[in-house]
Structures are given as structure tokens and as C-alpha cells.
Point group: C2
Chain length 408, copies 2
Amino acid sequence: MAKLTGKVLIAQGGGPTAVINQSLVGAVLESRKFFEVTRVYGATNGVRGIINEDFLDLSQETTHNLEQVAMTPSSALLSTRDKPDDAYCREIFKVCQAHDVRYFFYIGGNDSADTVRIVNSNAEGAGYDMRCIHIPKTVDNDLVINDHTPGFGSAARYVAQAFMGYNLDNRALPGVFIGIVMGRNAGFLTASATLGRKYEDDGPHHVYVPERPFSEEQFLGDVKATMEKHGRCLVAVSEGVMDKDGKPFMIRLSGSSEADAHGNLQLSGSGALGDMLSDLVKEKLKIKRVRADTLGYAQRSYLGVVSDVDAHEAREVGEKAAQFAIWHDQDGSITIQRTGNYSVDYRLVALEEIAAKTKRMPKEFLSLAGNDTTWDFYNYGRPLLGSGFPNVHRIRAPKVARILKNGK
Amino acid sequence: MAKLTGKVLIAQGGGPTAVINQSLVGAVLESRKFFEVTRVYGATNGVRGIINEDFLDLSQETTHNLEQVAMTPSSALLSTRDKPDDAYCREIFKVCQAHDVRYFFYIGGNDSADTVRIVNSNAEGAGYDMRCIHIPKTVDNDLVINDHTPGFGSAARYVAQAFMGYNLDNRALPGVFIGIVMGRNAGFLTASATLGRKYEDDGPHHVYVPERPFSEEQFLGDVKATMEKHGRCLVAVSEGVMDKDGKPFMIRLSGSSEADAHGNLQLSGSGALGDMLSDLVKEKLKIKRVRADTLGYAQRSYLGVVSDVDAHEAREVGEKAAQFAIWHDQDGSITIQRTGNYSVDYRLVALEEIAAKTKRMPKEFLSLAGNDTTWDFYNYGRPLLGSGFPNVHRIRAPKVARILKNGK
């Protein structure tokens, strides 16, 4: 087994999650155990911090504070939306070489995996011995090969608990409620809105995800039918729902076009989609009480709603990165594999298997009409929410006979 | 001491809160201890359920299930937005008389207190012996005489934790973040966004509440100054902010005019205000990354974020209602008085002292410029968030010297 001596460099990319610092701390603490590791550096602001050489010496951070940081949501090393091209990745590699970085760990989604892949091929091309590992995270849960990804479970728990509350609120003051959930290409998080349903008439009564074409007609028909059945209707809609031509519904309705460096349209941080769907229901179905909430950044950053299962796994993928790279001298992307109900193990796969690819929900997670989840999804998603998931209860007292309006 | 024998009738009005069922269960369980109480009825859908005689016999509900219901947010007896006029209140009184209701407890805000007042005067006018008690609840915290009201502490905790997360997210991916918080006339809940600040540069950096006129110029100036200072800016804005003529900013910008039976403009359940402020910042300050989230119904209904202090007090105001009415044969509104740091006691005041009046934030809770909170507010609000409030931590590792960009 090769024993490559040098520094470890860690960075965090893309959107924060509730447990991304668990992965950071897992990788740092595990790395610090190895004799071969001369220093553990953390780059601030992701890849941008690397090319700017903005490094913190995490070898000099206390274990105790790192443990506290692990329990704090959102990227402790800060993040970036920069998407490095080949030239940018060459810069990253040069900085690694200059600082004698021999182990590079980048925590992020499929764009980050792609960055790690390019940096790795630069190192190989230059004959510089360096191990590069991608550590997965994403609230969207859209990395291929992975059963699920760290960050998703806590976001799903936040969403499920939010909809449990919306459902109770909507039951007390009936009407139509539309909740807009994060998810550009994959509907896992939106589908999670159904994981807290308990009673037969509990909402969300319908979910609309990017995996199925969104049709105004179906949506309005569903809302109308549920209003007739329950006198109220809750729906969960992915921010990324598309029409049958694959065009985001948001663009169609708004003409909005703000895009980030990854070419992604801005879908979050605005209430536009919810408000448009709300107007649609008011106009077409003549329903007065229609409300739309866009769940927003709280889904990935809310402080205090964390799945313990998610936190443990996020910690472990960080630890595994250090073990695969330093003990086993391997490059790749850490993936989570489900091995029981509920247990997982981790497998290293080639970076190109994950990089820039998107996983979507399998068809068995959605009902035939595409507007609800199935028990398959429930069995998939429920363990990821972790322990101590809250419960709701109803009064079951008998009705009293009327006196003044007897018989009415 | 009079010993009035007959039924207890309880109902819940207005918007739900996280702890409103604690008050319900407190009143039910305490009432069931009294020999004079022949039955405890709960009206479904607030006052509407009373005129429709939609009663559940809560005497026949198990104590154990009631305890479970107490921990479930949102009105278990369901609610209504009906605002009874004199004729409506006469109907309520007639139903009470027909069912031999001798104790009427209504849980709600200042509109509900007004309903209780009118029903009470109907009973007095008819010489019908009946005790009427208003049990306070409101997330807005806007009942006069009360130090604070049940429901506020949990909503404030939800808001504080949300902004702690937004702050971390905004720190990782800098830009302008605007959070729109519930609060039509009173800014307590918006001000609570500041209760989780820890480090000197933590946001929200500014708050805008209905107590102070909202000026576009001040707002844009504040955002600009904070962007220059910290490279990022978080603000919390009350949905009810008004211009200097007392006109809601929302109307001025949108021309929106949907009002409920109380004459209240619809401010919640739409992302319009946030989106408009976001556009304003983009246009006037030429800042690209501007995001707005409207916190929405989660503030009053989110499942799983409850202040234990709030829950205890909500329980006690329910119990006190039964004690004041049944033991002490009194009518009135239960109020919370602060008696220490931190302790409270309850005092019964005349219904007309609370009914249809609105409390606003005292001036010492706001900075001179009106765009931030003070330590007075912190000392007022912090105990209400309860125990186990989460904390955040940062990495404090030393910086590494640059090699390639040495000196830059």
C-alpha cells in the first residue's frame, strides 16, 4: 500500500445543507489520525478559495470546536457558485502542487464531482501523485448510483414537518394551500411532503414533480376533485415542474430568465411560481381562499431540524473519504448503498460515474397518474427522516345531539 | 362563592398556533375536576360551530388522548374567520342557553375577546347566569395589558431559528436576503428574527416593523451600507410595514385588495411583498444576488418547533380560565404578567380592556433609527423562546500563508 506523505485540502461547494459540516469534520478528524498527513487545510469559499489560496490550517483547530461546528448547519468553510472550467481546474491543481497537497476532498453535488474529476486528470497528466475524492451532498438527492445523499434526509424532514403543520392549519381554516418545494430536476424533496401523512384525509393530497409533465388541466382537475371530497386541498409542487416539452413552468408563466454560472435558472428565492399557481386556482376554479407558500432556503438551512440518520451518514462519508484516499490510495466518489431496512454501507466509484449526471425518481415512487407518492416511496424515504419524528393527534370525542337545529 | 351548575363550552378562533391546544386541554381537564360541571363541550370551527350546534362531548375524551392533542399544533377543534356581529352573538347566546351552557371559554385574539364581551352582555341582559372567559392566543403578540401572549414564544422561536439558518446560508453564499415575517400591526415576531444573533456580523442586520414608517430610501440605504461593510445583507421585514401615511406598503406596491371578514387585507400566503422588495434592490442598487423568502404559515403551524415556556403558559391560561370562572365565578380575559426574570403570573381583567385593541412594540425595543432591535428587546424576548435553543459555531483555525499569490 502506497504511503503518500503531504497535506490534505478540503473544501465545500454549492448550496449548504444541514449536515454538510458533519462531512467536513469527519474528513478532518479522520485525516488527522494519519501519520502521512502533514497538515489539514480547509479552503474558504470552495474552489474560489483554492485558486485564491485562502486556506485555514484545520490541524490547529480543536477537536471540541470541530464537533460543535459539525452540529451547525450550512458550509462552515463557506461556499461558491463558481463552476470551474478546464483552465480553472488547472489553477486548482497548480495551487495544490505548490502547497504539497496530496489529498484533495471536495464536498458537493454532481458539479463538484465534475470539478474533482478534472483536477484529478490534471494531476495524472502532470505525473503528480495526488488522491482526489468527491464527498457527496445535496438536498435534491439527485446523485446517480447513490441510494440517497447526505443533506437530503434533513431537508426531507424539514419539508415533511412543514407540510404536517400546513395540513393542520388548512384543516382548521379550509381552502387551497400550495407549497412550493426545492427540486430542479428531481422530485424527491417534494415527494417528502407526503411522509408525515397520518389520517386518511391528510394532505398534501397531490404532489407535482419534475419527473412528470405538469399540466394545468390535471392540476386544476385534481384541486377541484379534492375540494369536493374534503372541502380543502393541499398540494406540494416542485419549483422545477416542466410542461410536456420540458420547459420549466416557471419560465412559461413569468418569462423570468435569471441564470447562474451553471446555466441554472433561478427558481428559489422568489414566490413567483406559488403566486402564479394561486392566481390560476382563484381565476379558473373561483375559489376564494387560496394560499401559496414557497418553502425557500429554510429547506436546506433551517436551524434545529436535523435527521440523526442523515447526520451520521454525512459524518461517515467524510471519514470514508480519508480512509479510501489515505489508507487505500484511491480516487473516486463516495456513494451510499442501502444494505438493509435500515442500514447502509459506502462504496467508492469512479468520478466520471457521478460527475455531471442527474438521478431522478424511479417510476415506482409515483402513482400512475403521477400526482401522488406510493408506499414504495414511503418505505424508501421514511428511514431517512431519522428518529424522534413528531406525531399528530386528533380529538375523537362523540358528537352532541343538536337541540335548536334538531334534525338539521 | 356562587356554585353555578351546568355545562362548559370551549371553542378556538382565528389563526392556529403551535400551543393553542395546550390552552384547550388545560381548560378541559381543569373543568372536568369540578363537581358543578355537568359536561364539557367543544364547538368545532369556533363561533360558527356554536351557532350550528356542532359540539363534541369532551367529557368523553380520554385524558391520555387530550394530552397527545395538547402537543399537536393548530386548533384541534378547528377554527373560523367569522367575526360575529351583535345578531351573531345573540345566536351564540341562545345556543348556550338551550344547552344549559354556564361557562363559555373562547381561545383567540382581540377579535375573539370582543365576541366574548358581546356574548357576555347578552347573557347579562337576559338575566342568564353565565361566566364568559377569553383565553388569549396570538402569534402576533398584540394583545394589550399582556406582557406577551401564548403562541408568540413558539412562533418567535421558529422565526429566530429560521433566520439563524438564513444567516449561515447567506454567509456561505453572500448576497442580499429578505425575509418577510408575519405581523400586521405589531413587529414583535419580525423583531424576533434578531434573537439568534451571536457573532458581531450576524444577520438580520436590519428589521423593519409596522411601528415605524417604512421608507424605500432608508431601506435601500441600509442595504447598501451593510453590503459595503459585510459583503452581504440580511433583513427581516414585517408583512404589514406601512408608509408614513399609514398605508400598507404591500397595497402601494401591488394594488392588491383581498380582505377577510375582519376587513384585514390578505398579507400572508403570497410572496408578493418579498418579490417586490427584491426587485427594488436589484434595480436600484444593481445587486445581482438578491433572494426573498416569505416565511408563511410555517410560522404559526410548523410541527416540531415549540417553546416549552410558551407551551407551559398556554396550558396555564387554559387552567386559569376554568379556575376563575368556576371557583371564583368571574368573567374576563386572562392576561400574562411578568413577575421575574423569568417568571409569570396570571391576572383576570375586564373583557372590554382587551377586546378589539392592539398592542404595538414599545419604543425602547427599537433602535433610534427604527431599523434594529435593542438589548431591551433581547431581554424581553429571549426567555420566551424556551429551553434547548440551538447554538451555532464557527471554525477559528489560523490562516495559512499564500505561496503563489504571496503578499496579494
